[in-house]
C-alpha cells in the first residue's frame, strides 16, 4: 500500500463523525438521510464527509438515482489494520531479541564478577 494511500485513509479516519458513519455502515448499507439522522448536521455537511470517505475508498455509493446507498468497502481499512499489526509484530519481535541481548550482557557482567572472586 502506498504511503499516500495510507495517509488518505488515516486522515479520513481522523474525524469522529466519519468514524461514526463507518461504524453505522458495518450493520449494512444506508442512505445519506439515514446516515445524517444521529447527527445534528445538515445533509450537505454529511455529504461532504461521505465524499471524503468515498475519495479514501472507504465507502462506495450506489448508482440508484434517488437514494444512492452507501456501503462499506473492505480494502483500505483492512490495509490500515494490517499496517498497524505489522508495526506491533516488528516491536514485539525486536523486544524478544532485546530481552536475549540484555540477558547476555548481564550474564557476562555476572560471570566477570564471579571471576573476580577467584
Amino acid at each position: 500500500m502506498s504511503p499516500d494511500r495510507l495517509s488518505t485513509t488515516f486522515s479520513a479516519l481522523a474525524d469522529p463523525t466519519r468514524r461514526a458513519i463507518l461504524a453505522r455502515l458495518i450493520s449494512g448499507e444506508a442512505s445519506v438521510t439515514e446516515l445524517a439522522e444521529p447527527f445534528e448536521m445538515s445533509l450537505p455537511a454529511v455529504s461532504k464527509h461521505l465524499k471524503v470517505l468515498e475519495h479514501a475508498g472507504l465507502i462506495t455509493r450506489g448508482r440508484e438515482a434517488q437514494w444512492r446507498p452507501c456501503r462499506l468497502k473492505a480494502g483500505p481499512l483492512k490495509d490500515a489494520a494490517d499496517w498497524l499489526e505489522h508495526y506491533r509484530r516488528f516491536w514485539e519481535q525486536s523486544f524478544d531479541r532485546l530481552e536475549d541481548y540484555l540477558g547476555e550482557l548481564q550474564g557476562k557482567e555476572k560471570k566477570d564478577g564471579h571471576d573476580d572472586e577467584h
Partner: protein, 157 residues
C-alpha cells in the same frame, strides 16, 4: 511526563501500545536504545541483521538504520529524535523508507523506561499522524474503528 495510569483507554486505542517488563536495570535498557553498537544487536525482527546503524541521539538529531532480512532484502528505517530524557524517556519520529530513500508514512514513537525494583518496565507508544503537530487533535479512537471492522470481517467471512 504523564504516568501510564493516567492514560485512558481511548487514548491507548488510538496507538500501538506495548508494555513489557525486562529483567535488567533501567540504564542498561536506555543504553541499548541509544548506543548504535548496542541498538544494532536487537533492533529488528529475529533473523534480521543490522548492516548500517547511524544514530545521532540528541533532540533534532537523526537516525538511519538498515536491517537485512534472512532472504537478503534490505529494509531502511529513519527518523528524528524529538526528546531525550536519560534514562527514562525517548521520543522520535519513525518511518520506513520507500525504494527511493524517502520516508513513507510517518509515526511518532514514545518510549518510557520505569524502574520496577531490579527490573524495568518499558512502554512503547506509536502514534499514527500526518504531521507531528496534528498528533493531539487527530486519530483519537481510529484504531477502535479498525478493531470493529476486523470483527465485522471475521463475522462475514
Amino acid at each position: 511526563m504523564d504516568t501510564t495510569t493516567s492514560i485512558d483507554a481511548e487514548e491507548r486505542e488510538r496507538e500501538v501500545v506495548i508494555t513489557r517488563i525486562f529483567d535488567a536495570p533501567r540504564h542498561l535498557l536506555f543504553q541499548a536504545w541509544t548506543e548504535p553498537d548496542r541498538a544494532a544487536r536487537w533492533w529488528g525482527p529475529r533473523g534480521f541483521v543490522t548492516t548500517y546503524c547511524d544514530m545521532d541521539v540528541r533532540p533534532g538529531g537523526t537516525f538511519r538504520v538498515c536491517m537485512r532480512s534472512p532472504e537478503g532484502a534490505d529494509h531502511w528505517k529513519q527518523g528524528v529524535y524529538r526528546e531525550i530524557v536519560e534514562p527514562e524517556r525517548l521520543v522520535f519520529t519513525f518511518a520506513w523508507e520507500d525504494g527511493e530513500g524517502k520516508p513513507s508514512h510517518q509515526t511518532l514513537v514514545t518510549v518510557t523506561f520505569a524502574e520496577r525494583g531490579d527490573k524495568t518496565e518499558l512502554t512503547l507508544r506509536q502514534a499514527v499522524f500526518e504531521t507531528v503537530e496534528a498528533r493531539n487533535s487527530h486519530h483519537r479512537g481510529w484504531t477502535s474503528t479498525l478493531q470493529r471492522f476486523a470483527e465485522y470481517l471475521a463475522e462475514n467471512r
